[in-house]
């Protein structure tokens, strides 16, 4: 008898607890993850000082120095610009991942979509930039980059809609394909003629470099990202399409019963996600990198997942989490130079944040499962749960 009572009491307790923390959770959870990650990072730095760098003893002050350098690199006047520059592709690709989550799709293809955006922009700079002014080249390069990214998102979307192939699998596989398409494009058709080793054209010599609008290297792409945030928010929360995307993510069967064409929604959402990531790639090439050697790759696609998870898929939140990860990236170098802490530490911090967030998502997912007795979740249900948990 007491067994039954215990279950009921536990359920009641958990309901109360959930209600209590429910209000604060959207902000509290990511914040807790960040703080915890910084603490674990501090332990890593202390260990590093004693075991790796062989300072005379474990240097308890080093984490302070390292984080101070990190902060300086991220928020000094030049650092602030760097933060914005690094945040730009993270926000754009992060919005893409967030839209996917809202629709119940886990888009891991940011890497390939970003790279296609880069290739598209480079192609325009290479072909058009020699004869046209920057007023034509730059918008065209951004547009083509975005469309190439959208195409890279369209493929897994269409595969899912037509054959049910899971987008996690297809986007991951497609990433590899697109990495090598990029490799081929830069060392083949887009290679600079006459160069002793393969390298692309310098977009600055082709009227395609984004104008600097802020500080030393704050390019126009920052504005593109900051404008994309309210646009995506508006799309998701104030348009019919946005409602359908969210409805399909919440419960795709119900959405279908409600008369929504969910297959069309999948293709549209994935294309839109690709478009945003592609725009991230295009702005990075035109605003920062300018000239690319074969082997060019990016971590933006994966970092964007952290960005979207941190933001719980809220577009406004994406802006803040994108800025946070951008700041970490901007400060990483100062941390290396001033405190001698290896750059991998910032990767570690990011990974710890991600792990903590995923653990949270998993925990809630398990909570949810234990409530709906013994249902066997399919892969699709997994993603829906993930979307639900991050929504």
């Amino acid at each position: 008898m007491s067994g039954f009572g215990r279950v009921r009491r536990a359920a009641l307790l958990s309901t109360v607890k959930r209600a209590a923390i429910g209000a604060a959770r959207p902000i509290a959870e990511p914040l807790a993850a960040i703080v915890l990650a910084l603490l674990v990072g501090a332990v890593l730095i202390v260990l590093f000082s004693g075991l790796v760098a062989r300072h005379s003893a474990f240097d308890l002050g080093l984490p302070v120095a390292a984080y101070a350098a990190l902060l300086e690199g991220a928020v000094s006047p030049n650092g602030m610009t760097a933060t914005l520059v690094y945040a730009t592709p993270l926000i754009l690709a992060g919005l893409g991942v967030a839209i996917g989550f809202k629709a119940g799709l886990f888009n891991i293809g940011g890497r390939g979509q970003f790279l296609m955006g880069a290739v598209g922009a480079l192609a325009v700079a290479t072909v058009v930039g020699q004869t046209q002014s920057s007023y034509i080249t730059i918008p065209l390069a951004l547009l083509v980059g975005a469309l190439c990214g959208a195409a890279a998102g369209f493929v897994p979307g269409a595969l899912k809609a037509t054959s049910g192939a899971h987008e996690v699998v297809t986007t991951i596989m497609l990433n590899y394909v697109l990495v090598f398409v990029t490799y081929w494009a830069i060392s083949g058709p887009l290679a600079l003629p006459g160069s002793p080793q393969p390298i692309s054209v310098d977009v600055a010599t082709r009227n395609a470099a984004l104008p600097i609008i802020l500080g030393r290297d704050g390019h126009l792409g920052i504005l593109v990202a900051l404008v994309a945030v309210p646009l995506v928010w508006f799309l998701l929360y104030r348009t019919t399409l946005g409602f359908e995307i969210r409805a399909a993510g919440a419960n795709s069967d119900a959405a279908r019963y409600g008369g929504m064409r969910t297959n069309r929604l999948i293709v549209l959402t994935m294309s839109l996600a690709g478009l945003l990531a592609g725009l991230g790639g295009a702005t990075t090439i035109l605003g920062v990198v300018h000239q690319v050697a074969p082997g060019y790759d990016t971590t933006v696609g994966f970092d964007a997942i952290t960005v979207a998870l941190l933001a719980r898929s809220n577009p406004i939140g994406v802006m803040f989490s994108g800025l946070l990860l951008g700041a970490m990236r901007a400060g990483a170098q100062t941390m290396q130079i001033q405190a001698g802490v290896p750059p991998e530490l910032v990767d570690a911090l990011q990974a710890i944040i991600l792990v903590l967030l995923v653990v949270n998502v998993l925990r809630r997912w398990l909570d949810g499962r234990s409530r709906q007795h013994g249902s066997t979740p399919s892969a699709a249900a997994d993603t829906a749960m993930l979307a639900d948990a991050t929504a």
């Binding site: 890593l44 060392s187 080793q197 310098d202 990016t298 290396q336 570690a348 990974a351 991600l354």
Partner: protein, 370 residues
């Protein structure tokens, strides 16, 4: 996530490297009275890649240890970090900034132009600038980099000497008297110099040896440098048709495919640029030696020249005379090296040092079908 794994490896790797560094007495703390600060921007990847990154950084470390200078490195995560990482050292008032590899060339030239008071060392880059001292995208190189950018030093190597030494070893270990060399492309002077030196070196050991030559591509840079699958296919065919039993390759990633092909065909292979027995371990069982650029030594010497005020802007060429090129140790004990080879190698190096040995034909760097 892969980032996690990479991080762990990265930390371990840094551990090993920094441990090695501190045991050799180098320290990141600036010593009294010295204000020299050396910054190294590696290419993407790792600082301990057993390749360009690692050896260039080691050179900077050695110089710093001897001069009592500070040395710090930054590893870009991807190409979007290049310019910022260079600028980061400029902002922190570093006096000497070393950048590693061809991909950083343009950003290094731009930084040198914008910061005329800072010394820049571009490893494996011959700076090509226009009349204004800006990077020249057309490769006409009309500007005189040594005058326009007097504090930019492009560190280059005399590849034919390294090739010559590798040629001696190849001719010595060949049983059939037929050896092969495959270059990336026939219009890259550095590639051609390696091959020309290799040919002369092989003939010097055994005048009757046949040296078969081919190129991975005549126009497609992707096939030439970046396509290991093509490298393997092409080399397999080359080995079958020409019947060579030693293969030398000068072709970056494509060349790695050639090393694989040699292993698979059970013939011997020669590495290039760095000690590929260590850097490309997939093929270590068939690599006899490598035609090496001594990156560490070149960087070390150049930094010391700057510190001693004897350095000049422009291209700084390294060769046997200044320990800039050489051959890798014979790690692989299962490959017997005939007696007398060492003496020949020593004699060749001595000849290169006193200038009596010619390691490249008159049209050095231009390929003409023999």
């Amino acid at each position: 996530m892969t980032g996690n794994v990479r991080t762990v490896f990265g930390l371990l790797a840094t551990a090993a490297l920094v441990a090695a560094c501190s045991s050799s007495g180098a320290s990141t703390a600036p010593s009294a009275g010295s204000t020299l600060k050396i910054g190294v921007v590696t290419d993407v990847g790792k600082v301990d890649d057993k390749n360009f990154n690692q050896y260039s950084y080691e050179g900077a470390q050695k110089a710093a240890a001897d001069l009592g200078a500070t040395v710090q490195y930054v590893v870009p995560k991807d190409a979007s970090d290049y310019a910022k990482d260079i600028q980061g050292f400029v902002d922190q008032k570093f006096n000497i900034i070393v950048t590693v590899g061809f991909a950083l060339g343009t950003d290094t030239i731009k930084a040198a132009k914008a910061n005329p008071d800072v010394w820049f060392l571009a490893v494996d880059v011959a700076p090509c600038v226009d009349e204004a001292g800006a990077p020249d995208g057309t490769f006409a190189c009309k500007g005189d980099a040594s005058k326009l950018l007097p504090k930019l030093i492009g560190i280059t190597f005399q590849e034919d000497q390294a090739g010559y030494l590798a040629g001696i070893v190849s001719a010595a270990v060949s049983k059939t008297g037929k050896i092969g060399q495959i270059g990336a492309i026939n219009n890259n002077p550095a590639v051609v110099r390696y091959l020309q030196g290799f040919q002369l070196g092989a003939k010097s050991y055994n005048p009757n040896v046949t040296v078969e030559t081919a190129f991975f591509s005549t126009g497609d840079p992707n096939k030439a440098y970046a396509d290991p699958v093509w490298g393997k296919t092409f080399s397999t065919q080359f080995i079958d048709q020409k019947g060579v039993d030693v293969l030398f390759q000068v072709a970056g990633g494509t060349g790695n495919g050639a090393l694989d092909a040699a292993c698979e065909k059970n013939i011997l292979a020669i590495g290039v640029d760095v000690d590929q027995y260590n850097s490309y371990t997939t093929a270590d069982k068939c690599i006899v030696t490598s035609a090496e650029k001594h990156l560490s030594s070149a960087v070390n010497q150049t930094i010391k020249a700057i510190s001693g005020s004897t350095a000049k802007g422009g291209v700084s060429t390294f060769n046997a005379k200044n320990d800039g090129v050489g051959y890798s140790p014979f790690h692989n004990t299962s490959i017997p090296i005939p007696a007398g080879v060492q003496a020949k190698l020593d004699a060749a190096v001595a000849g290169m040092k006193d200038g009596s040995l010619k390691t490249c034909p008159d049209k050095c760097g231009t390929w003409t079908q023999p």
